[in-house]
Amino acid sequence: MSEPTRNSAASAALAAVVGVLIILCVAASEARASQRDLTQISIEELLDVEVYSASKTVQKTTKAPASVTIVTASDIRKFGYRTLADMLRSVRGFYITYDRTYHYVGVRGFARPGDYNTRILLLLDGVRLNENVFDQAFIGNDFPVDIDLIDRVEVIRGPGSSLYGSNAFFAVINVITRRAKDFGGVEVSGEAGSHETYRARLSYGDHFANNAEAVFSGSHFDSRGNRRLYFSEFDEPGQNNGIAEGLDSEKTARAFAKLSFSGFTLLAVYSRWQKETPTAAWGAVFNKEILSMEEHALLDLKYETTLAGDLSLMWRVNYNQHPYHSHTPYDYAEPGGPPLLVTNNDLSRSRWWGTELQLNRRLFGRHDIVAGAEYRDNIQQDMKNYDIEVYTLSRSNSRIWAVYMQDQFNILDNLVLNAGIRYDHYSTVGSTANPRIALIYSPFGQTTFKLLYGTAFRSPDAYELHYEAMGYRINPSLKPEKIRTYELVWEQQIGDSVRGTAAVFSNKIEDLITLTTDPDDFLVFRNVATVEAEGIELGLEGKWESGLTGRISYTFQETKDRDTGNILTNSPRHLAKINVSIPLLREKIFLGLEEQYAGKRKTLRGLDAKASYVTNATLFSQRLVHNLEASVSVYNLFDFRYGDPGSEEHVQDIIQQDGRSFRFKATYRF
């Protein structure tokens, strides 16, 4: 593998910065003054002590105008989650497809082959992460933040365009990072696993006088991957008998900084990921290296303050850039002639900056109003493809502005009406307005009903609007696709320990942007398909005194193309999940067991990817020895053989997933 030298130089610089940073940070933590004993002062004096900034009030999920699931840092440790995709696999109604390059999330029966997670909105501490060429959201090892820095992931189902705009189509996934207080010093973590997989992390976080706090972290992930992958579609003597050898490696370098000071929070994130693709996707030569690289840099400055009385204000401004580059080997040999290998380069450059102002206020005692405005300038949305001559050169930029408002009207103590609307204007495709209405009623203390209605949109991305390579033709009349959702949710507290959720949903997607083929064989994106999805979700969640916790869920869904009446590809009818964390030694040793079932899924060629049963187990210990946390995980414990449906770019109709693998991890806090 020949990596360009500038990249290794950048990696070395990164490593050096992280190293120096940590040394200085340790020094800073040593210098911290000890705290005084607050029990030794009088209660009047205590009333006068100024405290370190409080946690922002988090809305109770039962009050949220949506069906919400939260996966926490504790789940990450107890179930041995390695990526955001692992976390989402455990979420009711969600499933993941992996094509050995990217992870794709399916929500409520919808996971189109070739959709780069454009129909979910991924946020990091409230900052949009979907890049602006393919609108892609990254959830595997390409997610820009190390999983150990996550405090919790809030999965908000249903359309979220009334607050968040484009891409908030099926769900909004907000990843919230840990606060400085959660570190309280230096944290070192290392792990080793199957397929020569290693990860190392050094983090530092603490709070100081004047409500200042800081978190710094650097980490590196490296995996050789599965060294021999067999693909029957390529099983020929000239194709290494279908075995892709040593072509599954993956690497990520990440740096993270968060600094807060009197209402201001500065977030800086950098990540660089690269992955080899062993599947010979896009018609590449089999058993030769295809390498993809994604880089993300983000800088966000947020200011939060409480103005007069109960009026609070949030203002943020951020800058993002996301370059992508891949090398793909093609054979341009004449028929019968000698091989002529050429490396094709596919590139995109994505840069944008944005600003948002949001006001929150309680009015007339019963109305909680949120109002805001957002502006986003896509400075650069460029695509390029070449081997020797440039095939595609699309340069574009666009601007978006939006205003939104939401009113949570607390009609009675047990009856809430939540209504919101957002108006977006795109310089490319014009305007769209999206409402959401929720009625939340708790007839008894233990019971909550939510009736939800909403619409959302996804504006065509730069790739769909401007990609004009060989075989593609531009469609100037492409417009946003729309979804309309109805949902009824019943949340029930059963006794002290168990909480149940039942939801019935109906989604109708119109003007779905679909890649179609014209009679003259040109590929054109058009607003053609209409998809209808109906389903029911059941979930139980329990927490017992002994420390035992568990979640179990079942989803039945039917997602059909209205014109053909066919069930969509990669859409399982049944999904079931069980997560149990059993305390073996109170507060100290836990056994986490996870079982995920997905029913059979139709593939692009009309076959079925068989139903899958995946079992994961993690033995986790904390505070056994000082501040040491250690865990051993086994993924796919029973070595169940299954595959995910491939996409248009794959020769494989079904892409084999990993069998049993292991991981050992240890984390120490100083």
Partner: protein, 182 residues
């Protein structure tokens, strides 16, 4: 591009680091929950529990917002009583406690917790807007970065505890919902 980005990053991190080390040289303020834990300790001096022993059990129900912040009061003596902090998950455990902290995680089932607390000579404490007028005796709130508390006089009267006038004098007085003057 990469070079430019790396340079940007280095510059940024150095800046952040510098400000962090300057901040670190000063004395760190206590966290919100360290202060609240200290208040729980001080309350003991102003309240009389009928027929209580020498150990005073402070319970935290549900999702614990304190973490290690209660370490500073664990085992401390106030008004001749030794404080012992316990995390509980069920209202059935309330009878073991003299004081219970009810975090905002219990918002939805506050009423059933308060019903279970009746007649147990239990001091209920919370830190969620509205808890006091819903019947929690002492409720923390924040004002200009400082922790303050309000006392529901009606709930205090029902509790069977004797609360000194001094504590009322430094608190904001509230009443049960429906009796509010505002």
């Amino acid at each position: 591009m990469t070079k430019e980005m790396t340079r940007l990053l280095i510059g940024l991190l150095c800046g952040l680091l510098l400000s962090a080390s300057i901040a670190g040289a000063e004395e760190a303020g206590p966290t919100e929950y360290q202060v609240k834990a200290a208040f729980l300790y001080h309350f003991v001096k102003f309240i009389d529990w009928p027929d209580s022993g020498s150990i005073l059990k402070v319970c935290v129900l549900g999702e614990d917002p304190f973490g290690k912040d209660t370490d500073a009061i664990e085992g401390k003596t106030a008004a001749g009583k030794v404080l012992s902090v316990a995390r509980i998950r069920s209202v059935h455990e309330l009878k073991k406690c003299q004081m219970v902290f009810i975090p905002s995680s219990e918002n939805d089932r506050l009423e059933s917790i308060l019903t279970a607390a009746q007649g147990l000579n239990l001091l209920t404490v919370g830190d969620t807007a509205g808890y006091a007028w819903r019947g929690v005796i002492i409720n923390f709130y924040k004002e200009q970065g400082k922790v303050r508390f309000e006392i529901n006089r009606d709930a205090a009267g029902r509790s069977g505890l004797k609360i000194s006038a001094k504590l009322f004098s430094i608190s904001r007085i509230v009443h049960d919902a429906g009796k509010r003057s505002d």
